[in-house]
Amino acid sequence: MTGFHWQMNRAGLALLVLVLGGAIADAQSDRVFPKEGRTLTGAISKVSAKGITIETGGREVEVPATEIKMVNFGTESREITTARRAISEERLNNALQILESIDSGQLDPPALALDVDYLTAYCMVKMALSGERGTLGQATGVLTDFLEKGGESYHYTNAVELLGDLLLARGVYDQAEAQYQRLVSTPWPDVQQIGRLKVGRMQELQGKYSEALKNYQAVQQVESTTAESRQSKLEAQVGQARCQAFGGDFESGIATLNQMIVEESSTNGRLFGQIYNALGNCYVAAKQPKQAINAFLHTDLLFYQDPEQHAEALYRLGELFNSMSKFEESAEAREKLKSRYGTSPWAKK
């Protein structure tokens, strides 16, 4: 054989590889990004509410839903991938613009279509909750649609939690409680913990303090050392302090919360927002308005990242400043509450 012939064969071989390789790549280009560990590339063989099974490197790997950070389907368009990235970077407006232009009914496999539906619902819910765009009612509609058909999506449990959050934001605490209760039935301890935590919070908001207390205590008893579990336990501790205060023992609540302020890092903004709000409520119960103002101001000025906590703090500040005849400060707090969290139950009180 001459060199030229070999080159031709080489070219042909390359072309073959290119053609076959493309087909092989299509069939094997699903990727599952777990929260920890390396990315799994292969072919997704099963998707359910419990998780994803992917064939990779000649074996099947099951990734539980709670451990999935992101999924890229081999057949998804670049726009969908871009939208996912935008969501991970919290550019929800950008993401939604892209997602709304996609007809999920045309997508294959069905898991991808459900993904797009979920991501769309997610963006609408989050933006409605922050007051950036849309109403809570609209978001509820979209999310409920997803839940009706998304029983086999690995996002299902997240969607249940989101629905609970929406119902909480709308002030329908008993319905929110029901949704969060479903989380307690999942097979994952961390999710059960979050479920109990949120159920407890809903019970608190309905004045069912002894039931809430039981749920918070159950959260503390879960044997898990993950960071999420620790966070849940800390938040449950805050919840317990709140229940103590509302049950009349505000001194214990105050002591517990002050201890947490000393022991925990103030870089945990979400926790500290809860702690200071709880502290503020304890001081309100103890009829110490100045201390209560001081506590709620910590949330308003330093730990405002959680909209629900911030909204509550602003509401309480409006009331407290008014009770102390500081009418300008009271008006400012109320104005801030209405302008930033107009859809929140706190703004409607």
Binding site: S266, T267, Q288, K290, Q291, I293, N294, L297, H298, L301, L302, E329
Partner: protein
């Protein structure tokens, strides 16, 4: 003007640097360098003084440090501390560093007298003395310092500088001898090195000497012969140094500088400027900058002293040196002050040109350049927390430039840094506007020119607009910035934003928010930039809340203040913020009567801080107040008969430590107060000290304090000073003064003078208080209090002989008063005081003296009664006369008079007590059961027109007890009445030999406890218990006293 504080250290560095050129070798002050020494030197050179100190501490015990180095650790420590002065501004901290340095040097000098570095150590000590002298001079130049203190500081400075000169003189001689001992032509390398080092040090000392002389000259006022002499000496010496070291440029130019300064201070301006030209003509090199800066400092007053300023010539020289600063100079206040001066001079130059009616195009352009440059320099100084920010803002305001130039093109910020920077820019404008508004308002108050007023008002309106809008705008940028943060935003960046927001909340009087942000920064990130300011904002915010809160509802504010104060003291000790925090907490502790807490915080205020004295005075005043309160309680018990004399004296003696401590806090400070420092708090401190002096029988010291010129209390009252405007305070001053004059009579040689002063006070009192009925009442109340004061004072004297002398002094004063006044109030008061003194004489069994005084008092009272029909006066006189009769043993007269008074006024409880006691004394004197019975049951029946019944005018102990049983105001009177009832019954029983009466007396005692549980107090219970035992003894019962409750 004193040179910059870095004078010697920078000079030394410069000398060593320039010395290279002349000497041709690298000088080294120490021996062969060890790595440890090199590292330490490098740390110091880079300005890492704290690290150097820590390193030294480690090296003290580290095995890697050479033994030879360990020997000089204290010396190196002192050297490092002195070098660190260059970066410290706060006077309190400077003094603390000097104290530490001196301690270390002392230790080195004491333990290493023969060490080769002894010479350097003593020179270092001389530099330390010079630094202290410089600090003293700064204090002298401060406003509001009393003349006495200034003179004292200058005297200290002179001592320090003379000592420094002496040291330098000795060192010079010592080095000279060392140089002479080495052959100048030696080829031995070690000797050559030593010779070189000695020559360098000799040069240094030759410069140090005239420099110290110049400083010493500065401690004398202009025109003083000592000043002229010293200046001439310095000039001569500098001339000598210049001549000797022409080839050594460093020394030569430093001497030139000194020479110019000397001529400038002598007033030889032209000579000074001529020599300074040599320095201005030197090349622009980094190592020459400080020399040139000092030349400008000396040149400035010389330029200004000239008839007219040649700006064209001066400004280029000034600009060349100061116009552009090196990064290391941008936080140095010495350089920044010169920049401000330069800006001022540009502005003057501009105004001079601008004022010309006709200008050439070049002049117009020049004027514009000057104007722009002036503004540019000052605006730069308003940025970024420059130390001269406020001065720069005021200057801008005075030029009518408070509003910044309008920014063109404002895009919305798109990231955290942009938003932050925009916020900071607006905040800077706000700050500038604040200072400008103040300046404009002040100028408006003093300007009458209508055009200028209109201009100022327009500027003020515009500035106030900025004040209204800027905080809101700045806050919105900062909130925007916070909204653009994420988990990766550095905490320090967040800290900066929060600090600014805390400040904005504070100026908008949102104190809760300001406090939360400020305290959070302090608590979580004390090492972040601006944490100190955050602490200050938080403290001020909570202080504002404290002041606005109701007095009964301040727990929250107190807790926050304590938290912030304690953290400030922990993280920023000895700073202005820490001193303020300690001062506030000391005050608050006192307000809670927590003396221990107050003392603890006081210890955290350095001795040299002005706040220290105030805090000490407040604690001293509180201690004194506590002492008086306790003494009052003891006296109350004694007067009520619940405490015997011996026990009273014992209890009083146990209070001596409180007096001593109060004195310790008050004595030094009150003597140094200036009139500018007097307010109600310091006035109370002085009053407390005067009263303390009187208590320890040092009336002359009290008088001296009251009579201090300008700041003494009497001078303040005369001058109608604001601090003594309240009627109560003025009365208190006069009352204390009267006490002091009267009490001092016993010991003074010049009684007439003292009496005259006391009479003068009484005249002033009468004039100022006695004009109307309410004034009269106040006057009488004051005199009554004075009687009580004098009685207390007399009784607190330990020896009868002392009491006799005191009493006689008082009596002679009173006689003087009686002989020269017809005022019935004054006469009654003087008689009451006489009676009081006589009663004390009687207690001391000085019956002759007592009788004499009682008789004199009686005579005066009779005259008053006869001369006055006005019922209250006549009644007062009669009451006192009755007391006199009682004391003289003229019981029937006394009873008659009491009955006359009480039949018209039966409810005069104190008179009822006197009357019952008169019966009782009568009964005892004559062993008369009927009189004792009258003491118990009352006497002198009369027909009461009000009740239309026959009643006893004198109630006796029984009815007294009944009437006072339910009124807590008369608790002591009740207990006294019940006690005397039981006691009288016992006396009656013993005379009548009646067991029945004894038993009844016992029942009297037991019944008392049913109305006043446990007999009201320990001392009363003890008395009742003793009486019960006496009764039990008489009844032949076991003497178990009162039943156990």
């Amino acid at each position: 003007m004193f040179p910059n504080r870095k004078i010697f250290f920078r000079g030394l560095c410069l000398l060593l640097t320039l010395g290279f050129v002349g000497l041709g070798f690298t000088p080294s002050v120490s021996k062969a360098e060890e790595p440890v020494q090199q590292f330490l030197n490098e740390l110091r050179n880079q300005g890492y003084y704290d690290e150097a100190l820590v390193y030294l501490k480690d090296m003290e015990t580290s095995p890697i440090a050479p033994v030879t180095f360990k020997d000089i650790v204290t010396y190196e420590r002192a050297k490092t501390l002195l070098a660190s002065l260059a970066v410290v501004r706060e006077r309190v901290k400077l003094e603390s560093i000097l104290d530490s340095a001196e301690q270390s040097l002392d230790l080195f000098i004491t333990e290493h007298r023969t060490h080769p570095l002894m010479g350097e150590a003593t020179e270092l000590f001389a530099n330390l003395l010079i630094k202290r002298a410089e600090l003293n001079q700064e204090q002298v130049d401060d406003e509001g310092v009393a003349e006495g203190i200034k003179q004292s500081l200058l005297a200290d400075s002179r001592k320090q500088l003379k000592k420094a000169n002496e040291i330098f003189g000795n060192v010079r001689e010592d080095i000279k001898q060392k140089i002479l001992r080495i052959d100048s032509k030696t080829t031995d390398p070690q000797l050559k090195t030593m010779l070189g080092e000695y020559r360098v040090r000799y040069m240094q000392v030759r410069l140090n000497l005239p420099q110290t002389t110049l400083l010493l000259a500065g401690t004398y006022p202009e025109g003083a012969p000592e000043r002229e002499k010293l200046l001439t000496e310095a000039v001569d010496e500098f001339t000598g140094v210049r001549k000797a070291y022409q080839a050594f440029q460093g020394t030569f130019f430093l001497a030139t500088l000194g020479l110019a300064e000397g001529y400038a201070k002598k007033g030889n301006i032209d000579d000074a400027l001529l020599y300074l030209e040599d320095i201005f003509e030197l090349p622009q090199a980094a190592e020459l900058r400080d020399l040139k800066r000092r030349a400008v400092v000396i040149a400035l007053p010389c330029w200004r002293a000239q008839d007219s300023l040649n700006y064209k010539e001066i400004l280029p020289k000034f600009e060349a040196t100061v116009g552009t600063l090196l990064p290391s100079e941008m936080r140095d206040i010495a350089w920044l002050e010169l920049q401000l001066e330069l800006a001022g001079m540009y502005r003057e130059a501009f105004e001079e040109l601008d004022a010309k009616a006709t200008k050439s195009p070049e002049e117009t352009q020049q004027a514009s350049l000057y104007e722009r440059r002036a503004e540019e320099l000052v605006r730069e100084l308003t940025k970024n927390n420059s130390p001269l920010k406020i001065d720069a803002q005021k200057l801008l305001a005075s030029w009518g430039l408070a509003k910044p130039p309008v920014e063109t093109g404002g895009e919305a910020p798109t990231n955290f840094l942009q938003a932050r920077d925009k916020g900071v820019a607006v905040l800077t404008d706000y700050d500038t506007a604040r200072v400008a508004a103040e300046t404009l308002r002040v100028e408006l108050q003093t300007t009458n020119d209508p055009d200028r007023r209109a201009e100022l008002e327009t500027q003020l309106r515009s500035t106030e607009q900025v004040l209204r809008t800027a905080p809101i705008q700045a806050m919105s940028y900062f909130e925007m910035a916070l909204g653009m943060t994420d988990g990766d935003t550095p905490q320090d960046d967040l800290a900066v934003i929060r600090r600014y927001m805390a400040y904005l909340y504070y100026v908008q009087q949102r104190y809760y928010s300001a406090g939360v942000l400020g305290a959070f920064q302090l608590r979580t990130n004390p090492n972040a930039s601006g944490a100190q300011s955050s602490a200050s904002i938080a403290l001020n915010a909570y202080w504002s809340l404290y002041q606005a809160a109701d007095a009964e509802n301040r727990d929250f504010e107190l807790a926050q203040l304590q938290n912030v104060a304690d953290l400030t003291l922990k993280y920023f000790p000895e700073t202005a913020e820490a001193i303020k925090a300690a001062n506030v907490m000391s005050f608050l502790s006192l307000s809670k009567k927590d003396l221990e807490g107050a003392r603890g915080y006081l210890e955290q205020i350095p001795n040299s801080a002005p706040e220290r004295r105030r805090a000490e005075l407040s604690i001293g005043t509180q201690l004194w107040s506590d002492y008086l309160a306790r003494k009052f309680e003891l006296e109350k018990s004694r007067r009520a008969g619940a405490l015997q004399d011996a026990a009273y004296q014992n209890e009083l003696a146990m209070l001596q430590p409180v007096i001593d401590e109060a004195r310790q806090y008050l004595e030094k400070g009150v003597g140094e107060l200036t009139s500018g420092e007097m307010d109600s708090s310091t006035v109370n401190a002085v009053l407390a000290m005067c009263q303390l002096y009187l208590t320890v029988q040092n009336a002359p010291a009290a008088v001296a304090l009251l009579e201090r010129p300008e700041a003494g209390l009497l001078a303040l009252v005369d001058a109608k000073h604001a601090s003594v405007q309240s009627v109560d305070l003025t009365s208190n001053v006069y009352r204390t003064a009267l006490r002091a004059y009267i009490a001092g009579l016993a010991g003074t040689a010049n009684k007439a003078d003292q009496v005259a002063k006391a009479r003068q006070i009484m005249r002033v009192l009468n004039q100022s208080l006695g004009a109307d009925a309410s004034g009269q009442k106040r006057l009488i109340a004051l005199y009554v209090d004075l009687v009580s004061d004098l009685k207390d004072q007399m009784e607190s004297l330990g020896q009868p002989a002392q009491r006799l002398a005191f009493g006689e002094g008082v009596a002679s004063f009173l006689e003087e008063v009686q002989s020269t006044t017809k005022d019935p109030n004054l006469l009654i008061w003087s008689a009451e005081t006489m009676i009081s003194v006589a009663e004390t004489f009687k207690q001391d069994k000085m019956n002759t003296q007592a009788k004499a005084l009682f008789t004199k008092a009686d005579k005066v009272l009779t005259a008053v009664s006869q001369g006055n029909s006005e019922s209250s006066l006549a009644r007062r006189a009669k009451v006192q006369q009755a007391r006199v009769k009682k004391n003289l043993g003229l019981y029937p007269d006394a009873i008659r008079m009491f009955a006359e008074i009480l039949s018209a006024n039966p409810n005069f409880v104190t008179v009822q007590v006197d009357a019952a006691d008169t019966y009782h004394q009568w009964g005892r004197a004559e062993r008369s059961t009927s009189k004792i019975a009258s003491a118990l049951a009352g006497g002198e029946p009369f027909d009461n027109p009000k009740t239309k019944r026959q009643e006893n005018a004198i109630w006796g102990w029984g009815k007294l007890a009944q009437v006072t049983a339910r009124d807590s105001k008369f608790r002591d009177t009740f207990l006294q009445a019940r006690f005397n009832l039981a006691y009288g019954r016992m006396e009656y029983a013993l005379l009548e030999k009646s067991d029945n009466q004894l038993a009844r007396a016992k029942r009297d005692i037991l019944a008392t406890a049913q109305i006043v549980p446990d007999y009201g107090s320990k001392s009363w219970k003890a008395k009742y218990d003793a009486l019960m035992k006496a009764l039990q003894k008489e009844l032949g019962e076991p003497q178990t006293g009162l039943p156990k409750s």
